[in-house]
């Protein structure tokens, strides 16, 4: 009797890793208020591993839940492992999302990647730009 699966509702009403990391090593923000979803990911990196991750999200229940589960899925992973996270895996981990909400999972994937990219940039670590979303050209928030 709900728009969302139990798993989504659990992550939405009890989101994991909400908040920010004041001395984060990488921060990524995607989306915009116009389309109604903004996700901000904070990473603490130690020895190429995501030691801690937190998020802030302005958006619908699915946006909050995908943020929450994505942080759980990458915590403790190496950056290379984290980079392989796909929005499809996020959706599957949540037990599915309604079609119009799939874009939220894309946002979560992108917010994570934007934070990793930010970490590389800050530390002048060379990386393959093609693996990262170009937020300026991103049309995600117009997807339905």
């Amino acid at each position: 009797m709900s728009l969302y699966s139990e798993k989504v509702m659990d992550h939405f009403t009890n989101p994991r890793n909400v908040g920010e990391i004041p001395d984060a090593d990488g921060v990524g923000e995607v989306g915009n208020v116009k389309c109604g979803d903004i996700m901000k990911f904070f990473l603490k990196i130690k020895e190429n591993r995501i030691e801690d991750v937190k998020f802030q999200t302005f958006g619908c229940g699915a946006a909050i839940a995908t943020s929450s589960i994505a942080t759980e899925m990458v915590k403790g992973k190496s950056l290379e492992e984290a980079m392989t996270l796909t929005n499809r895996e996020v959706v599957e981990a949540l037990g599915g999302l309604p079609a119009p909400k799939i874009h939220c999972s894309v946002l979560a994937e992108e917010a994570l990647k934007a934070a990793i990219q930010n970490y590389y940039e800050r530390n002048n670590i060379p990386y393959d730009k093609s693996l990262f979303p170009n937020c300026a050209e991103c049309e995600t928030c117009r997807m339905v």
Binding site: V18, Q56, G59, C60, G61, I64, P100
Partner: protein
Amino acid sequence: MKIYADNAATTKMSETAFNAMLPYLKEHYGNPSSLHTPGQQAAEALQTAREIVADAIGCTPREVLFTSGGSESDNQAILTAAKLGKKKGKKHIISTAFEHHAVLHALQKLEKEEGFELTLLDVHENGLIDPAQVADAIREDTCLVTIMYANNEIGTVQPIAEIGAICHDKNVLFHTDAVQVVGHLPIDVVSDNIDLLSLSGHKFHGPKGVGALYVRKGIPIATLIEGGAQERGKRAGTENMPAIVGMAATLEESMNRLTENIQKISALRDQLIRGLSTIEHAALNGDPEKRLPGNVSFCFEGIEGEALLLLLNAKGIYASSGSACTSGSLDPSHVLLAIGRSHEIAHGSLRLSLSEENTEEEVDYMIKEIPKVVDQLRMMSPVWVSKVRGEKDFIL
């Protein structure tokens, strides 16, 4: 506690409506077009229902056409005016930017497919039309002014009688979507100068799937659904007898209790508005005075409406964000944009629509719980956090 505060989306059917429907769902199943006793029994009930609906809005029974609901009524009203206009070479229609989609989409279809020209009047920050705008907008080739009696999202009630008077002065047909008003506020199509009016049963504790269209005598009605001779050939289809009878019964009751209900519901509304006004960086949508007795509509900065709804749902508060129809879409409500809310602010809307079944205790509970939920979402919102830190400016 379970609080139904989404009465603008749909209402709980009254006992009166249910009891009136019951015989027509069971033993009185005749088709009113049939000549035999069960058929004629239905035909008589149909006539009685028509008289009741006519009485409620101050017209004659022959001016009432039963339809499947508000959307159909709106479509047929607009088609009627457009057909007449087309014949006379008048293809300009005046409306507002925040009509219900049943009006707006019907108008846009005329624009796209039939070459009509639309003027959508500005509804200002308070959600109100100034009758002078209508006077100014009417042209030689205007065939219709269609302005909703009250808005379904922000609840503002327009100066309909004055707008109607201007239309009649200038000999232009005037339609009003009164779906949110019938059964809630007094309406008199004569003194309100209305030519066409739409209403829908399920918005005033009647059944779903039934509505009516009032068409002033003398206006040739265009048919949307062609077929049998029902509704004097203007709306085909076997009549939805249980629903028609149920709608009439509950409308009659609503009209009898109108003053009492308005008083009770307005008091609850004002209590709720006062309570929610203590939330910082929030704003009431629509004029505080000229609004529906049951409508409470707010925007809360820094959060998104759907998340708000779901958390309220978990607390047993059943509300809406913008209109039910647009919930779930990515675009914020066209109504909130029309009153000048930015996209960001429009996303953070909450509509609580009350009925006479709500109680003071429920309102107290909402006043207690809603700020908590708003806070909870704000705490995890990057938008809110950056505003609190002064990195971005507050809008509200």
